[in-house]
């Protein structure tokens, strides 16, 4: 993480200075039309960094600096960047099962995971989470976790033996033979994941033949605090607008004129993760991940993340003679009855475990999480970028990749109850115009080997053009099947895709215009 420069002041000063000298170079932001100057601040005045280098996804927002939270931010950052150990403080608590031992290993440069040829938890930049589900019902398999673990601390054994997981990348030819009308070609590949039955530690809850396997990659973390600040009623209005326009919407989320479901027991809509499984940020992916990815307990989560039906893993492990033989050696404090089977089961099922992450460390982590700035849009004065911006809107891309939102008072909430509404311990982003390029709604691309259920929330595009610099790759889409922007666009063009009509227009553009669209997407 690195310091955010006081860019707003810099821009004001630069504007003033240029006005004084009476000449305006065409390559500085103040010479842009007001609309584009505004869009340069992708995260609004309180949420944008002008860092364009390798650490561009790592800066604190001006809101963090204004609130005097920089040191808390940096303490929180420690927990994201460092490898979690079993018992070495302050980064302790790893296991008994874990998905990864480090957050950054999945979010390289704080960004999107990289396309991988194999599934190894310890491979750098492997942001993949395995998705194991029943292909008949689309329901997650209950004998493993929603994010299945392939790592364990002794004497425990992982839910899936990762050495047996295979990822094959297969060629795909689209309706147009992977060719534009002017002859330019592109290639498309997609992953086929296989996991043999004997790779599973616990017995499956349904016949193996019903199992399906997918990959879902991490996305960037920056700007999530700003997305959390979008008012609930603005989200609702977006759904209503799309419904009224005849857009197909996920019936599990939207019921015509009102929400079909809300987040948990709250009155807040779902807004985070591809599957829209999470609502307010304070109980969303990051707040969850710092607990369940390394399995580090904290005061409000004093249990371990195991199989969805927790008793399945606990029963299997408690009956495993090898685990029984070693349990008291590694966990002597859990010798409560002298019967390892009973003690293993009780340990794994316990929901009053000792706290491993302090409340203060968790607060710092959430300052960091809510405090990550969005990189400013770049090169908006470039005529090709401006052409791409115009085409992006004209073709209909902006229908789902909605350019901007305005945040509300940001009296954020925490369904978990750890933070009070608008708690002063975390940064806030009231009344900011932001440019995430997402409608926060799920749509379907109907790709081969598509995401579980087929519904996927429109991923924000902001900052993604910096991925090659910040994360070392250009991979896109939920399983990183697109290796660049062009491939990502063309994956939107499958026959049944909600975006097919837009891609048909894109195909008719000249090469110069197609490149302009790509350039624009990389600029925001």
């Amino acid at each position: 993480m690195k310091k955010n420069n006081i860019v707003f002041a810099a821009m004001v000063c630069a504007t003033a200075a240029i006005a004084l000298t009476g000449c305006q170079p065409d390559n500085v932001t103040p010479s842009l039309p007001d609309e584009l100057v505004e869009e340069t601040y992708a995260g609004g005045r309180l949420g944008t960094t002008f860092n364009q280098s390798a650490s561009a996804f790592e800066d604190p927002t001006p809101a963090v600096e204004n609130a005097g939270m920089v040191n808390a931010f940096k303490y929180g950052e420690f927990f994201f960047e460092h490898t979690i150990t079993q018992n070495n403080p302050p980064f302790n608590g790893l296991g008994p099962l874990y998905v990864r031992s480090s957050c950054e290993a999945c979010h390289p440069g704080y960004g999107h995971g990289r396309r991988m040829e194999r599934y190894r938890a310890d491979d750098w930049a492997n942001g993949y989470l395995l998705v194991v589900y029943n292909k008949t019902t689309d329901a997650y398999e209950t004998s493993v976790a929603g994010m299945p673990q392939t790592k364990a601390v002794p004497p425990f054994k992982p839910s899936i033996d990762e050495d047996k997981i295979n990822i094959a990348w297969l060629e795909y030819t689209d309706d147009w033979g992977n060719r534009f009308p002017d002859g330019e070609t592109y290639s498309l590949i997609y992953p086929e994941v296989t996991i043999p039955e004997d790779a599973f530690y616990a017995p499956l809850s349904a016949p193996y033949s019903q199992m399906a396997f997918r990959l879902e990659s991490t996305i960037g973390i920056y700007g999530t605090g700003l997305l959390d600040a979008i008012p609930d009623d603005s989200l609702k209005a977006q759904y209503q607008k799309e419904y009224d326009a005849g857009v197909d919407l996920n019936p599990a989320i939207w019921a015509g004129h009102d929400w079909a479901s809300l987040y948990g027991k709250t009155d807040h809509p779902k807004r985070f993760t591809y599957a829209l499984s999470r609502g307010p940020l304070q109980d969303a992916a990051g707040a969850n991940a710092i607990w369940n990815i390394p399995n580090v307990t904290r005061s409000d989560r004093r249990s371990h993340y195991l199989s969805l039906d927790k008793s399945i893993y606990a029963t299997t492990a408690s009956q495993d003679p090898e685990v029984q033989a070693q349990f008291y050696h590694y966990f002597p404090q859990w010798n409560k009855t002298g019967d390892p089977k009973t003690d293993i089961y009780n340990y794994l099922m316990c929901d009053t475990l000792p706290v491993e992450m302090s409340d203060q460390d968790y607060v710092n982590f959430m300052v960091w999480h809510r405090g990550l700035a969005v990189p400013a849009a770049r090169n908006l004065s470039d005529p090709a970028v401006q052409r791409g911006r115009q085409l992006f809107r004209e073709m209909g891309c902006a229908t789902c990749h909605r350019p901007s939102w305005t945040t509300g008072p940001d009296l954020y909430t925490d369904p978990n109850g750890f933070f009070s509404d608008g708690d002063a311990r975390l940064p806030r982003y009231p009344y900011q115009k932001i440019w995430p390029y997402t409608d926060m709604v799920q749509h379907r691309l109907h790709m081969v080997n598509d995401i579980r259920t087929g519904w996927c929330r429109t991923t924000p595009l902001w900052g993604r053009g910096l991925s090659p610099i910040c994360s070392g790759h250009s991979d896109r889409l939920h399983d990183c099947r697109a290796r660049n922007v062009m491939e990502a666009i063309m994956w939107h063009g499958c026959p049944q895709s909600d975006a097919r009509w837009t891609v048909e227009k894109f195909r008719q553009l000249s090469k110069e215009d197609r490149d302009a669209v790509v350039k624009f997407i990389n600029a925001i």
């Binding site: 690195k2 200075a17 303490y75 150990t85 790893l94 070392g472």
Partner: protein, 387 residues
């Protein structure tokens, strides 16, 4: 720690002072800036990055050889020699931390070779409960097994430091077990491979062929995004098709940001976390007790980057120092003074840090690093206007 208002005022004054030049630059000025930026980037790649990573790769290679030999015949003198090589390799690594962007970041080499703390429970399990893994580490490809199977919390400098040092001194050979030698030899081999990756990543075909061959044999990536450019070529070709840098000035901004980032990290994380939090667990390099040397070398990496090369290869005419000075002598003065002040204040920290972490001198060093980071930030504000 940082006063935003003061910083804003300084920035405003700087921009107002320089804006007339910046905003009225004609094309000739822009071309000159571009050419000078290309020279600075080339000097940075060839005379700061390249010699640093070459020295690091060579020292890591030497360390791996020494530990492989010690694994067969351990002596006190041999351990002391290995400790010396370890410190020399570590010196080069710390002197590279101003350019953690590029290969170090993209390939995850920084966390792979420099994670801390060591997971002591996992280490004990490995030593006493994992005969199959020990056997694998003892095999011909033990370096590969280590790199792929141990995980970052058991790899890299701090794992080796734990084996070789105790309380700031070299261990006696008799205090290092057979399994620990097997582990150390394998981890040092992995460290060597990763240092090759840094070296080849930046130098490309200018790196020793044997190092390239080793990476090819291990199927380890070393080019930018799997393409044809090395990281050095990528920077030298800034502004041209195929480079990730949109312009030559953008390449300079990346260099400056790297310097700013490590100045900030030394002050506000490496020193501040232990000093302010009075928490010893935040201290890196506790076994060799060389934390302060690490901090000092980190600032030297900034000096080498800013002044146009490592000692002996420096050319200030092709340096950031010269480039910045030609545009704004005040900013350059601020930076050069801040570098020397940070070095002085870190030198004044009482050693070892792990025993003196709460003393006031550490807070003064934190302030000096913050000042340096802020000064470097001024450069990027200036470069942004040139870009």
């Amino acid at each position: 720690m940082k006063n935003t208002c003061i910083k804003t005022l300084l920035l405003s004054a700087t921009l107002l002072a320089s804006a007339s030049f910046i905003s009225c630059r004609d094309e000739n000025d822009a071309t000159l800036d571009d050419e000078k930026a290309a020279q600075v980037a080339e000097q940075f790649v060839d005379h700061t990055v390249a010699p640093t990573y070459t020295a690091l790769a060579n020292k890591a290679e030497q360390l791996a050889s020494q530990l492989a030999a010690l694994r067969l015949n351990a002596t006190d003198a041999g351990v002391e020699d290995a400790c010396q090589t370890f410190l020399e390799a570590r010196e080069q690594w710390e002197k590279s931390e101003a350019f953690l962007f590029g290969a170090a970041g993209d390939f995850g080499i920084d966390p792979h070779i420099d994670s801390w703390p060591l997971d002591e429970d996992a280490f004990r399990t490995l030593m006493y409960e994992s005969p199959a893994m020990i056997s694998a580490l003892d095999g011909e490809d033990g370096d590969v097994v280590a790199g792929e199977r141990l995980g970052n919390a058991l790899l890299g400098f701090h794992g080796l430091e734990y084996i070789l040092f105790v309380d700031g001194h070299a261990k006696r050979a008799a205090d290092i077990t057979e399994n620990e030698w097997i582990y150390a030899a394998a981890v040092a081999g992995d460290l060597r491979n990763r240092c090759y990756q840094l070296e080849v990543g930046w130098l490309g075909d200018k790196a020793p062929q044997s190092h390239v061959d080793k990476l090819d044999e291990l199927e380890m990536a070393y080019t930018v995004a799997g393409g044809n450019y090395s990281y050095g070529e990528n920077m030298k070709n800034a502004g041209r098709p195929g480079s990730t840098y949109a312009s030559r000035i953008a390449a300079l901004m990346a260099i400056v940001q790297g310097c700013s980032d490590i100045a900030d990290e030394v002050g506000s994380s490496k020193i501040y976390a232990a000093w302010h939090g009075e928490d010893i667990t935040y201290i890196e390099s506790p076994y060799s007790q060389k934390s302060i040397i690490d901090f000092y070398n980190n600032i030297l990496s900034i000096r080498n980057t800013y002044m146009g090369g490592i000692e002996g290869q420096r050319d200030e005419e092709k340096s950031l120092h010269s480039f910045v000075k030609s545009h704004d002598a005040a900013i350059d003065g601020h930076v050069t003074t801040a570098i020397e002040t940070a070095l002085q204040k870190i030198s004044a920290m009482p050693a070892p840090f792990v025993l003196h972490y709460s003393e006031a001198a550490n807070g003064i060093a934190v302030e000096a690093c913050s000042e340096l980071s802020d000064a470097l930030g001024e450069i990027n504000n200036m470069l942004r206007e040139l870009n």
